[in-house]
């Protein structure tokens, strides 16, 4: 699957695609804010990407690495989050228009399913044994859970601060907020706070991803900060197991002056449990958190990498190269192309020595 043939890889060794990966055709017109692959419940691979151009696009990714644009939906304001329903029939999208919409792929219709008092930063579909709902985290400092049939949220949880990042892997949910707040929720029967977490990161939390243990049970999370640092936090192990590592920093050899970039996104490989980080420096890094080693780091893209994700079986790694605003609007060049690349990653993300 997703074989390694280079026939379709775009271009030669040009600067816009230093890793020689497959480029997604018809990319968004503005920075990519969110990226998600379809779940395992559908056989094909569909990739959706939300963008600051207010659109959510959907491509089908073929075995050969070829991408076919399928459809596009618009929101009233920039899209900040997308996610799939567990059955792969719907895509949820949320953003600056303070609403979340449900995009039914079969009918290509979208309806509003959630509303907040401020832009919605994250959305996740929760599939529990007894219920299913959409969780939205917003800058209005609430976490809301929506039964799609009701205009009122089924549950509102107040957050200490604005929601900046979240991840859901049933039965665990993690929400990172402004002011370096972090709450872990237990979603069984109904969402409730699990336990307070102390982290050693000193800077704003930017992205969080839940990882599983060997038995495929969610057991901890990795959280990335704006200061080029990722903390690995186990919830049920001794604090000894928790650690942070630095990433997405220039080595400073050029002028002896180190630039530290934000970790823009973290994703765990669904099979190997290894982790990838993408950063404002325009690189991605593959890491083995258990061996605490780096598996691979990419060449530097022309622009930051804003988001990344794996497909359901861990064959494809998708990453979006676009401006992340880390240098302010002065460095925003609307003329620069926003790109999404697909990389066969299964082998590269294998832990080096399996214990």
């Amino acid at each position: 699957m997703f074989n390694q043939s280079n026939s379709l890889r775009t271009g030669t060794s040009n600067t816009s695609n230093p890793m020689q990966d497959f480029e997604v055709v018809s990319p968004p017109d503005d920075s990519v804010s969110s990226l998600a692959f379809s779940p395992a419940s559908i056989s094909q691979n569909f990739l959706v990407a939300g963008s600051w151009d207010c659109n959510v696009r959907c491509w089908e990714v073929e075995q050969s690495g070829k991408t076919v644009p399928k459809s596009m939906q618009s929101m009233a304001a920039p899209v900040l989050a997308v996610c799939w329903s567990d059955d792969g029939t719907k895509v949820f999208m949320a953003g600056c228009d303070k609403t979340a919409k449900c995009w039914d792929l079969a009918t290509n219709q979208s309806v509003q399913v959630a509303a907040h008092d401020a832009p919605i930063r994250t959305c996740h579909w929760i599939k529990a044994s007894t219920y299913s709902c959409l969780m939205t985290g917003s800058w209005d400092k609430t976490l809301r859970f929506w039964d799609l049939r009701s205009p009122k949220p089924a549950l509102i949880i107040n957050l200490p601060e604005r929601c900046y990042c979240s991840d859901v892997d049933y039965p665990m949910a993690v929400v990172g907020t402004a002011g370096r707040g972090l709450i872990v929720y237990h979603l069984e029967t109904s969402p409730r706070e699990y336990k307070p977490v102390e982290l050693s990161l000193k800077y704003q939390y930017r992205c969080v991803a839940i990882f599983r243990d060997k038995k495929k049970v969610p057991t901890g999370f990795a959280i990335g900060s704006t200061e080029g640092r990722v903390a690995i936090h186990h919830l049920n192990l001794s604090t000894k197991e928790n650690f942070t590592f630095k990433c997405h920093r220039t080595n400073g050899s050029a002028n002896g002056y180190q630039d530290i970039y934000a970790v823009n996104d973290i994703a765990f490989h669904p099979v190997h449990g290894t982790v990838v980080t993408v950063g404002g420096d325009g690189t991605f890094g593959f890491w083995d958190k258990d061996a605490r080693t780096k598996l691979k780091s990419s060449d530097t893209m022309e622009q930051p990498i804003t988001r990344c994700c794996f497909n359901h079986n861990g064959q494809i790694f998708a990453y979006a190269v676009s401006y992340d605003w880390s240098k302010g609007h002065e460095y925003y060049n609307p003329a620069k192309k926003n790109q999404i690349f697909l990389r066969p990653c299964y082998e590269e993300l294998k832990p080096k020595a399996t214990p």
Partner: protein, 654 residues
């Protein structure tokens, strides 16, 4: 002493320096420390200027001897350390380079900043082109001259002044703690003192930290002989006392207004920065005692006065470096500008000793910062109404309807304000185009041009008032007039002609008298937009623009400062804070120094995002109530007895 005589050729520093810092300042030079240092140097200056005329001539000679010596060191390693820390340290990122050219190249490449002199050096030894590393590279003439001075230049004790490595200077805290009482003898007898004979005699010469000419300054080779050589040897042990440290603080002493420690009650800190610290102390105590947390409103002056009971225990509770969730963390002013009530924006320290975090200084997520761009909001306004109607929305919440209404209102408002702003733009262009255009074309490279154009575009966009419902975005889009700021010559060079004392008429800004607001109350929450203008007539428009537009009259100097801040990606919030700070300082000093001078001496002020609402409150609070913020204050300052100021004022301003 005797021991030192044996060492005939100890390494010495070619750059005579004058600075109040420990030589061994380490790399963990965080904001707090540097801020503290600012306080120190200010306070120290204060003290110094208070006492500088009282010591007998002999004392003076001794002091300057110490201050302006060519320091000698135990060995070359230490000398190199000293040079790195004092002379080759980048003032922006505090990286320590090895040579002057190295520093120059670093600043040019990393910060796009031209440095034309070695920091903390006297003007005749400030050539940044000369490559000196330790003892290597010192021009042979100078080396000879140094030898000569050491051996023969001073009858009696050949090297008493220079030889002794300046001892560990007192820690800032200690200095501060003892500040008011440290120099009791020297703090008196000021009023009526004639101006110092050593007042800067060269009007065209750029004032420079540490170059304040002084009767006792040892004449360095190559320096225009300003004073007859004074006997310098018989001054006993080199000065080590804390009271003298102020002289080393890097301010041209000749321009210092005399502020004697005795004349100012300790309850009213002399300088805004000190006051800021005092306020933050007050703030922290306040929060401890459970009173209301610092809000977006300014604190009443009285509380500041009572809070800043003494200058001594400065608690560096500077939020710039504190954690984001800190309850007493500073609320950046832009917050209140954005009218976003309960939100607090912390600032993060993005620049470390050897690293820079590539992130805007506000502790907001990049998405929030980005989302507040009008580009992304307008679309929301345009389309949300339409989508609400056209789409089969399952739930149209009340929020949305309310929002739609609000948006309609906002659009109207926009139209009105847009008209006003067009007028503003025209005026500003008239005012600034002359100054700006030439320099702009000469200086900007293509990339910068692009950036500027982009900048201009963005700013133009930002000139639209932001919709009130967009509360998630603090730090308002304080519009910088494109014409006057973005196009200015990018560098603030010392060769630039000095403007008249540049007052930001922040008096109006902070406490606009005609607006009918009671003094001390600043309705800053209502301010949606900040307009910087060079045109004083604009003050009338402030009335028209209503209280939502804050208009700051600035001089060209400030424009340059602003421009520089913009180029360093310092947020509008901080720009404002810096401006206010500079304004307050200027008022404080009664125009005795131009802002440019201030900035030259403490470029850190401009480049470090370390000023917060607390600091701002401190500045305002530190001023005498009422008159302080009024522009007329410049003529009749309170808090400083008038007669004391006059003799010490810089000739330029008399």
């Amino acid at each position: 002493m005797g021991r030192k005589k044996k060492k005939q050729s100890r390494p010495w520093c070619w750059y005579p320096f004058c600075f109040l810092e420990d030589c061994d300042d380490n790399d963990e030079d965080d904001l707090q420390r540097s801020l503290l240092r600012n306080h120190i140097s200010l306070l120290a200056d204060n003290l110094y200027s208070g006492c500088r005329s009282s010591p007998p001539p002999q004392e003076e000679a001794r002091r300057t001897d110490t201050v302006y010596c060519n320091r000698e060191f135990e060995d070359e390693k230490i000398l190199i350390q000293h040079q790195k820390a004092k002379h080759f340290k980048c003032h922006i990122c505090h990286k320590k380079l090895y040579t002057g050219p190295g520093l120059s190249i670093h600043c040019m490449q990393v910060h796009k900043e031209a440095i034309d002199k070695v920091p903390n050096s006297l003007p005749n030894r400030s050539n940044i082109e000369i490559e000196i590393y330790g003892m290597e590279g010192i021009p042979p003439n100078d080396a000879k001259e140094h030898e000569r001075q050491r051996n023969g230049g001073r009858p009696g004790s050949p090297s008493s002044g220079e030889d002794e490595p300046v001892q560990k200077k007192p820690k800032p805290e200690g200095l501060l703690g003892s500040a008011p009482g440290a120099m009791p003898g020297m703090a008196t007898g000021l009023p009526g003192m004639p101006p110092q004979p050593g007042m800067p005699p060269l009007p065209g010469m750029a004032p420079h930290p540490g170059m304040a000419p002084h009767p006792g300054m040892p004449p360095h080779p190559g320096m225009p002989p300003m004073h007859p050589m004074m006997p310098m040897g018989h001054v006993g042990p080199p000065f080590m006392g804390p009271g003298m440290m102020p002289g080393m603080s890097g301010m041209p002493s000749g321009m210092q207004p005399p502020v004697s420690g005795a004349s100012i009650p300790p309850a009213r800190p002399l300088f805004p920065s000190a006051a800021a610290a005092a306020v933050s102390t007050a703030a922290s105590t306040a929060s401890v005692t459970g009173s209301a947390p610092l809000g977006t409103d300014f604190k009443p002056i009285t509380s500041v006065a009572s809070g800043g009971g003494s200058i001594g225990p400065i608690k560096p509770t500077f939020p710039a470096y504190s954690s984001a969730g800190d309850s007493i963390c500073a609320t950046a002013i832009g917050n209140s500008l954005a009218n976003s009530g309960d939100q607090k924006v912390t600032l993060i320290a993005t620049t470390g000793a050897a690293s820079k975090i590539i992130h805007p200084p506000e502790d907001l997520s990049l998405e929030e910062i980005r989302a507040r761009l009008p580009k992304y909001q307008r679309r929301q306004i345009d389309e949300s109404g339409r989508s609400a109607q056209s789409e089969a929305v399952v739930t149209v919440s009340q929020h949305q309807q309310a929002a739609a209404l609000q948006q309609a209102a906002v659009q109207q408002q926009q139209a009105v304000q847009q008209q006003q702003q067009q007028q503003q733009v025209q005026q500003q262009q008239q005012a600034a185009a002359n100054v700006a255009a030439a320099a702009f074309q000469a200086d900007q490279q293509q990339r910068q041009q692009q950036a500027a154009a982009l900048n201009a575009l963005q700013q133009q966009q930002q000139r639209f008032p932001r919709p009130p419902q967009a509360v998630m975005v603090p730090a308002s889009a304080a519009a910088m007039p494109v014409s006057s700021v973005a196009l200015m010559a990018p560098l603030m060079r010392p060769t630039m002609t000095l403007a008249a004392p540049a007052l930001i008429h922040g008096g109006n800004m902070m406490r606009p008298p005609p607006m009918g607001l009671p003094p001390g109350v600043r309705k800053i929450d209502d301010v949606r937009e900040i307009v910087y203008t060079t045109d004083s007539r604009r003050q009338k428009e402030r009335m028209r623009g209503g209280k939502n537009v804050m208009i700051i009259q600035i001089e060209t100097i400030e424009i340059k400062i602003l421009d520089r801040m913009i180029r360093h990606r310092i947020s509008t919030t901080q720009r404002l804070v810096v401006l206010v700070r500079l304004y307050v300082l200027t008022v404080r000093l009664q125009g005795a120094r131009s802002l440019l001078d201030e900035c030259r001496m403490n470029p850190v002020w401009l480049l470090k995002p370390c000023f917060t609402i607390q600091a701002l409150q401190g500045m305002i609070g530190a001023l005498p109530p009422g008159a302080a913020m009024h522009p007329a204050f410049a003529a009749a300052p309170m808090g400083f007895p008038g007669p004391m100021l006059t003799p010490m004022m810089h000739p330029r301003f008399r």
